[in-house]
């Protein structure tokens, strides 16, 4: 089963304060309009748009952080989202102070800076410095490679979700290691898209296999737990992990040795274990 195209599986709590604190500006827009006060109307309209726009930007920054923590990388490009969000909100409060409250520019500037500080302190500074994650795979110029990597990332995400339904610390650890290996392999491909041809079958067969076996086990062991099933699952996980390590080594060595042979072996084992 291919990874479902549900891109927003990971729940993210948005910057709620930035959504509801500027709400008084909403009636202000209509009141200024009714009164025919153009400056107040435009200032409150632009300010509200900027704060909500800033909230949207900040939410992207938060989402990126959450994805990186959970999956090891993010499909969102590395941009200073929260900084941009804070700046937008800062410009908004500065604008209101200057044009609606008619305070001096120095005060407007101070208010803007305080807002920026508020956003960065509340939601954190953008994590742009996660080493290899800066080279986000989706920045690759090759659209096909980007799609393949995105699909693979969604499969890793599914494996991660299924793993959380398996309440066995030892198996969870194994799955986490497999996912970490998979992320490393994806990062290697992103670094050198030319090797994707060699890794294509790996991405399709291995990750599919790992996803199916994990989801299948999570489902079955909940309904009818069995020692034999757990042992089979563990064996498959060991094989998958070993092969992932080997794949990563060969990809890094740029060793064109026939990877397909290994994949055939794993596929056969997955079939024998009744996984695919």
């Amino acid at each position: 089963m291919p990874a479902q195209g549900k891109r927003d599986q990971i729940p993210v709590v948005g910057p709620m304060l930035l959504y509801f604190l500027p709400l008084p500006l909403l009636p202000a827009i209509f009141i200024a309009l009714l009164k025919g006060n153009v400056v107040n109307f435009l200032a409150s309209l632009v300010a509200l748009s900027l704060v909500w726009g800033g909230a949207w930007l900040t939410r992207r920054g938060i989402k990126r952080d959450v994805e990186i923590q959970r999956l090891g990388w993010s499909r969102l490009p590395a941009r200073p989202w929260k900084l941009l969000g804070g700046l937008a909100a800062g410009v908004a409060t500065g604008l209101c102070t200057l044009l609606i409250l008619r305070r001096p520019p120095v005060m407007a500037g101070s208010v803007a800076l305080a807002t920026l500080a508020g956003v960065l302190l509340s939601y954190g500074i953008d994590s742009l410095f996660y080493g290899r994650l800066r080279r986000a795979p989706l920045t690759t110029a090759d659209r096909d490679v980007a799609e393949l990597l995105e699909e693979a990332r969604l499969k890793i995400d599914s494996i991660d979700r299924a793993s959380r339904q398996i309440h066995n610390p030892e198996l969870n650890r194994r799955i986490r290691r497999i996912n970490a290996r998979a992320v490393e392999i994806l990062a290697t491909i992103a670094d050198d898209p030319a090797i994707v041809r060699r890794a294509r079958k790996f991405l399709k067969v291995y990750l599919d296999g790992a996803q199916r076996v994990t989801e299948g086990y999570a489902r079955v062991h909940r309904d009818q737990p069995s020692r034999q099933l757990e042992d089979n699952f563990r064996n498959v996980l060991v094989t998958i992990e070993d092969t992932f390590v080997e794949q990563q080594r060969k990809l890094q060595e740029k060793d064109a040795l026939d990877l397909d042979v290994q994949i055939e072996v794993l596929t056969r084992q997955l079939k024998e274990e009744g996984v695919i």
């Binding site: 604190l21 009636p27 409250l101 956003v119």
Partner: protein, 38 residues
Amino acid sequence: MAKRPLSVLILRKSVGSLLLWGTVGLISLQSFFFVIVR
């Protein structure tokens, strides 16, 4: 990302929220009243 003590995190978020309430919240509310009055 290096793990920081929970107390530092709570303090940071509290100061941040306070600044947001004091700027975005207060300025919006004041703007609302100013728009009504003027």
